[in-house]
């Protein structure tokens, strides 16, 4: 076995970037009180437009810009329907996903890579000079940093500026925001537009960097996972990072396991996860935040699964069937959703706003 943990970490950062980008956009949308389930559709539309324009022009920036625009434009359909024609947000969002899957497949027919596209690496001065760690952790492409920068930016705007306060107020109580004279629909349309742009970027990152190619259904549920991560993060920007990197970790783990064939890597990962779960639980009980097993459900789930896995290993399990490993990210998402019960959801989330009601 030859696995470099730092290399692995770098791979996790790349694998996490698309969900992170899509999730930060959706977080802003949901904070404004709108539930857009069309992330997957906007993402895949961004993926196809990013791929075509990027490879058509040979410019990575052009590709990403086109993708963001495509995602944002698609989101306007959702915005128009839900905000002006007052349609049900759940159904409309689903419709957007179905529509986006069809549209991307239609647009992507015969899409070919005319010009090669390379996304420039952006070594961070000084940090990238750190021996062995630096070149790998601080020598990513610009989009990886952009995604992290966006988190900081969204946090700052949301909690340190008036615009952000209005956004949160709209999501908490749209009637009150309206009564105070804030343009609820405009705020929400802008948030939806931003969310669409972020989803588009996320899609382009998949088709231009991560995979990089175009096939139908290339996003493979990443948009839905982004939605799950927003819930996981309790609508807090920095917690998105944890969620996205956790998901990226599972994805990378699964890919490596498939390539590697032995369970050594899984042993390490599960071991680390179990230790982390135990530490979190312990700190929470010591600081008296929550000690009961039901309040630390995620830790409990992880510990139980780790013990089961350990027993299986001791009993002599040597491999696990590769074809089932692709389930891991989805199962992990469910586990995370179960373990961390949603709290602090914006109070107006998903509710239709009509000025006279």
């Amino acid at each position: 076995m030859d696995i470099n943990p730092i290399l692995l970490l770098a791979a996790v950062m790349v694998a996490s970037t698309p969900v992170l980008l899509a999730a930060i956009g959706e977080l802003v949308v949901e904070r404004s009180g709108v539930l857009n389930l069309g992330v997957e559709g906007m993402m895949i539309t961004g993926a196809v437009f990013g791929y075509i324009i990027g490879h058509g022009s040979g410019s990575a920036i052009g590709g990403f810009a086109a993708a963001a625009l495509a995602g944002a434009c698609l989101s306007l359909i959702f915005g128009f329907l839900t905000q002006f024609l007052l349609t049900n947000q759940t159904a409309t969002g689903l419709g957007l996903t179905l529509f986006g899957l069809g549209l991307s497949s239609l647009v992507g027919q015969g899409a070919t890579a005319t010009y090669p596209v390379t996304v420039p690496r952006l070594p961070i001065p000084l940090l990238s000079d750190i021996p062995s760690l630096g070149p790998i952790l601080f020598n990513h492409d610009a989009v990886v940093y952009l995604s992290i920068l966006l988190i900081v930016l969204v946090w700052f705007i949301m909690f340190r500026t008036r615009a952000g306060l209005i956004l949160r107020a709209t999501g908490e109580n749209h009637d009150a925001a309206h009564a105070l004279g804030y343009p609820v629909r405009l705020v929400r349309m802008l948030a939806i537009f931003f969310g669409g742009g972020c989803a588009g970027l996320a899609g382009a990152y998949i088709s231009l960097v991560r995979v990089p190619q175009w096939t139908d259904g290339i996003t493979a549920g990443a948009g839905w996972i982004a939605l799950a991560i927003v819930v996981f993060a309790s609508w807090k920007p920095f917690r998105l990072l944890i969620g996205a990197y956790l998901f990226g970790g599972v994805t990378v783990l699964q890919l490596n396991l498939q390539a590697d064939g032995t369970l050594a890597l899984l042993d390490i990962a599960i071991g680390l996860l179990a230790v982390a779960a135990a530490v979190v639980w312990l700190t929470r009980s010591i600081t008296k935040k929550a000690a009961a097993p039901m309040d630390n459900l995620l830790s409990v789930i992880i510990l139980v699964l780790s013990v089961v896995y350990g027993l299986l290993r001791l009993a002599g399990m040597q491999t696990i069937p590769i074809e089932y490993l692709s389930m891991l990210p989805y199962l992990a998402t469910i586990a995370v959703l179960v373990g961390l019960r949603a709290s602090n959801a914006p109070a107006s989330l998903g509710k239709t706003f009509h000025a006279s009601t």
Binding site: L86, G102, H178, A228
Partner: protein
């Protein structure tokens, strides 16, 4: 400026007119789409809506429409209960696949049995249970841990897809299949085959089941306490809890019901039109059924008509693909437009359009 004013009562006229207007709007939008793809818009619409029913080869297409409509109607009928109750089962696709896997699994376990009266009913029961159990997972998680059922049911779709691909080349692979992926062909296994009941009509057991489901759903929704509770919980959750509706019970029942019906659709598909467990098992019924449910305004009779219409766009799409070289994906876009139109036009049922100053009362 245009503005919307809430009607005191939903408009009866628009309740019935809205779906029709939506179809017309979609046809217009679709024609624009097809024209922009460089296809003859009128020809394409004709190929989609006219040819399969009344064209030269309608004797071939009509049964196909029926076969396609049956699973859509079955799944959508189940979904309608959940959607009305505000329980968002988006994972019908996964429940449908699990129904197919379980049904096929039981049928194959008896291979090569000849007792049709044992194998076929058992397969149907197994498929229904398989779908229902797959639906029960998000239900229990929601009830126990308040987990979002939309996301869980969706994640389970991906899991089901992984499973069916894995099974088709592993557990359930045809031992006589020279190593190619895919199970034995069930439609050629008389004890389990869901073949046409009347030759050349396309009517198989799944079609009968869909019609029964629509009739039963209609009675439940309009005349039974459960239907009343479902509607009440969806429209006004607090009033439902005051009335004595147990929301947890409703979540479990509606997911069991929609999962079971989706599973049922899966068995009929795998033992009939599709024939085998394969990675390329006809997919997307579970998602298209969401459009069908909404197009039918979550009403069983509406769903019956919407399912037929949606099946028509599928088969018509294939005709248009043959004749006009219209890409298959264009039909998906067209279906998406249909859902947007029905949702958008529906606003007229509950709101009145007013011209004048945009003002708040």
């Amino acid at each position: 400026m245009l503005r919307l004013e809430k009607r005191p009562q939903p408009s009866t006229f628009w309740t019935y007119a809205a779906p029709l207007v939506a179809v017309v709007v979609t046809i217009l939008l679709g024609m624009a789409l097809f024209a922009s793809l460089g296809k003859d818009p009128v020809g394409a619409i004709r190929a989609i809506f006219y040819e399969p029913l009344f064209g030269e080869f309608s004797f071939y297409y009509r049964p196909e429409v029926i076969k396609k409509a049956a699973p859509l109607i079955l799944i959508a009928t189940g979904l309608a209960f959940g959607f009305r109750a505000g329980v968002w089962n988006i994972g019908a696709e996964g429940q449908y696949i699990m129904g197919a896997i379980c049904g096929a699994g039981v049928a194959l376990a008896f291979y090569p049995s000849e007792s049709r009266w044992l194998v076929f009913p058992l397969a149907i029961i197994a498929g229904t249970i398989g779908g229902a159990v797959w639906g029960l997972i998000p239900a229990l998680l929601k009830v126990k841990f308040k987990t979002n059922e939309i996301l869980v049911s969706l994640m389970l779709v991906y899991v089901a897809q992984v499973l069916i691909t894995a099974f088709s080349s592993g557990l359930m692979r045809n031992p006589d299949g020279h190593g190619f992926p895919g199970s034995r062909n069930l439609s050629q296994y008389p004890a389990a085959a869901n073949s046409e009941l009347f030759a050349g009509t396309g009517i198989h057991w799944g079609v009968i089941a869909a019609l029964i489901a629509v009739a039963v759903a209609y009675v439940i929704l309009t005349r039974h306490q459960f239907g009343f509770d479902v509607r009440l919980a969806g429209q006004s959750p607090k009033a439902a809890s005051f009335s004595g509706v147990n929301p947890n019970k409703l979540v479990i029942l509606s997911l069991l019901l929609s999962g079971g019906l989706a599973g049922l659709a899966g068995v009929f598909e795998v033992t009939g039109p599709a024939g085998q467990i394969l990675g390329s098992f006809p997919k997307f019924y579970g998602f298209t059924a969401i459009i069908v449910a909404y197009l039918g305004r979550l009403h069983p009779v509406g769903i019956l008509m919407a399912g037929a219409l949606m099946a028509l766009t599928y088969i018509g799409g294939e005709v248009a693909q043959d004749r006009q070289q219209l890409p298959a994906a264009a039909i998906m876009v067209f279906q998406g437009m249909l859902l947007f139109s029905i949702l958008g036009v529906d606003v007229l049922t509950n709101y009145r359009l007013r011209f004048g100053k945009n003002e708040v009362r």
